[in-house]
């Protein structure tokens, strides 16, 4: 029916791909089908040689986003100036479309030695964590002169004692630092799958995810990550291993979430067991298709985004 057709053109999101070393040549030889590429910041820390030569070629070909994995902004141990300077140097050299890090900690002093985990460890959601994260986020944003996006984690410890809900924590983080959010849908699904052993809702998994996402400060969501995860559990947990195509569940959730957030940049994450670059391009194409479906759905219904209530109970 004519009345079902959208009256205004739908803007599709930019869709990017994580660019990892084995794909460098293929990406530069076939730079179509992807709107931007994402680098892990640490892979660009070397300031010379092949790294910089390659980066110059990529910057001439693609817009880039920079995704930090090592700053550990929730750590109570001070972020060293030298590490912050390296991160800022990458931002300065690449002038990225987006800059992001994680809501995590990664270092602690053991027997007098400050150890760095090289991983993303969860934090308890409480006022002390909030103060710690806010201080570090402001420090980074001040250094690089722009806001950063913070990504939600997959976490494998069910018994962390929180005094704030994750949603409350994120609202306050955004309010106090004016940072944005990077919503990783796969992490949300992995967490929900890992909680299935303790079902507390009759809702479907997708509905639970949507209900939780609606409690977040959606106006602050400026990027979405999509990924898949292995069906094999490790130590009783599904792992956010980024070694699979985007799962059907994740596509279904994305279709709903893009309708809530609007066309924010979307990235396909695939870091392990890498397929050919062409396979990733197909995933990017599929992301556009699913985004169009979600945005058309929102356009037709023109339903307002649900009220973002601070008092909502988190499902994660």
């Amino acid at each position: 029916m004519l009345s079902d057709l959208p009256t205004e053109p739908i803007t599709l999101p930019l869709v990017g791909l994580g660019l990892r070393h084995p794909h460098y040549d293929a990406a530069l030889k076939a730079p179509t089908g992807v709107d931007f590429v994402e680098f892990h910041a640490e892979n660009l820390y070397p300031e010379g040689g092949l790294h910089q030569a390659f980066l110059a070629d990529v910057l001439a070909t693609f817009p880039v986003s920079i995704h930090g994995t090592s700053l550990g902004l929730g750590s109570t141990e001070k972020l060293p100036d030298v590490e912050l300077a390296k991160f800022a140097g990458v931002i300065e050299r690449t002038q990225p479309l987006l800059v992001s890090e994680h809501i995590c900690f990664n270092r602690a002093r053991i027997h007098g030695k400050l150890l760095h985990s090289g991983d993303l460890y969860p934090i308890p959601y409480n006022n002390e964590s909030l103060d710690t994260m806010c201080h570090a986020i402001v420090q980074v944003q001040s250094k690089i002169g722009r806001p950063i996006l913070l990504e939600n984690l997959s976490a494998y410890l069910p018994n962390i004692e929180h005094t704030l809900s994750e949603s409350e924590f994120l609202h306050q983080l955004v309010q106090r630092t004016e940072c944005g959010l990077l919503l990783d849908l796969n992490n949300i699904l992995v967490n929900l799958h890992n909680q299935q052993a303790r079902p507390s809702s009759n809702q479907s998994l997708i509905d639970q995810a949507i209900a939780w996402i609606k409690t977040l400060p959606l106006h602050a969501v400026q990027e979405i990550h999509l990924a898949g995860f292995s069906p094999n559990k490790v130590h009783g947990f599904y792992i956010d291993d980024h070694g699979q195509p985007v799962s059907d569940e994740c596509w279904a959730l994305y279709r709903h979430v893009i309708a809530l957030t609007g066309p924010v940049p979307t990235l396909i994450e695939w870091d392990n067991d890498l397929p050919e670059w062409e396979v990733l391009i197909k995933q990017a194409t599929l992301a556009k298709k699913v985004a169009r479906e979600g945005l058309q759905m929102a356009h037709k219904s023109s339903a307002p985004v649900s009220d973002q209530s601070l008092s909502s109970k988190p499902c994660l």
């Binding site: 010379g48 040689g49 092949l50 602690a108 494998y156």
Partner: protein
């Protein structure tokens, strides 16, 4: 419990796999740490094999932990660690192979410099006691008992591996190599005894000026100009510069 204490306990619990959840993080760390070392030390991995390498990587972590933020900077003590492992006595060259791979890895990551061939013209226009050298990124001497560069090359080209490849006398060279990065990739050359002393003098902490280098060459009956020509031709020397205030002559 304070947040600092909570985080310290968490990191310790990951190290000891205190619970299933902590074991997930422990497992991830072990895999990532091994992969990181394998990236920096591919020949060491090829020589030791997966199992021995994994065991060495684990022991290395237990002894040194991980302090660097960037996995790319991890493993600085790995050559020394390998050298101290009695269980690896069948591989007397393994520590030097690791040392060579580490140096190449580090030099490849150094910032670029601008090569300025025209700056050699300073030799004609300025007093030599005011002329100093700026060398290629990472230029350094690497003394080795074993021919680690050849071993690394041979593993990259397996057809070069023969049954008697690892006969120790054939691999022992007791030589000093010059390492530098002229452009995108690190280069290496074995120094002859004649010019080794000159390089050691040039690269000492005092950073001599050209007049002092010329005096050293004269004392040791070395021909300076062919040496300078070689430096520029192979981009070991990136530029000459004049700096009167540093003059000691």
């Amino acid at each position: 419990m304070s947040l600092t204490n909570w985080q310290t306990h968490f990191v310790h619990a990951v190290q000891t796999s205190e619970s299933d959840g902590h074991s997930v993080y422990h497992n991830n760390f072990v895999l990532t740490q091994r992969a990181s070392l394998a990236t920096t030390f591919p020949t060491v991995l090829a020589m030791l094999g997966e199992d021995t390498f994994a065991s060495a990587a684990h022991q290395y972590f237990l002894r040194f932990g991980k302090e660097s933020f960037d996995w790319g900077e991890y493993g600085a003590h790995f050559p020394t660690f390998l050298d101290q492992q009695n269980a690896l006595s069948d591989y007397p060259y393994i520590a030097e192979v690791a040392q060579y791979e580490l140096v190449v890895h580090q030099v490849n990551r150094l910032p670029n410099k601008t090569f300025n061939q025209a700056s050699v013209g300073l030799l004609q226009t300025h007093p030599w006691h005011e002329i100093y050298f700026d060398f290629a990124p990472g230029l350094q001497l690497l003394p080795l008992v074993f021919d680690a560069p050849f071993i690394v090359r041979a593993h990259a080209e397996p057809e070069a591996l023969t049954e008697d490849f690892f006969q120790q006398p054939a691999l022992q060279v007791d030589a000093t190599y010059l390492i530098w990065r002229p452009e995108l990739a690190t280069q290496i050359e074995q120094l002859n005894d004649e010019y080794l002393g000159l390089w050691q003098f040039v690269l000492n902490a005092a950073a001599p000026n050209l007049q002092e280098i010329a005096q050293f060459s004269e004392q040791h009956q070395l021909d300076l100009m062919p040496w300078l020509h070689h430096l520029m031709q192979h981009k070991q020397l990136f530029r000459c510069y004049s700096c009167a205030k540093h003059s000691r002559s």
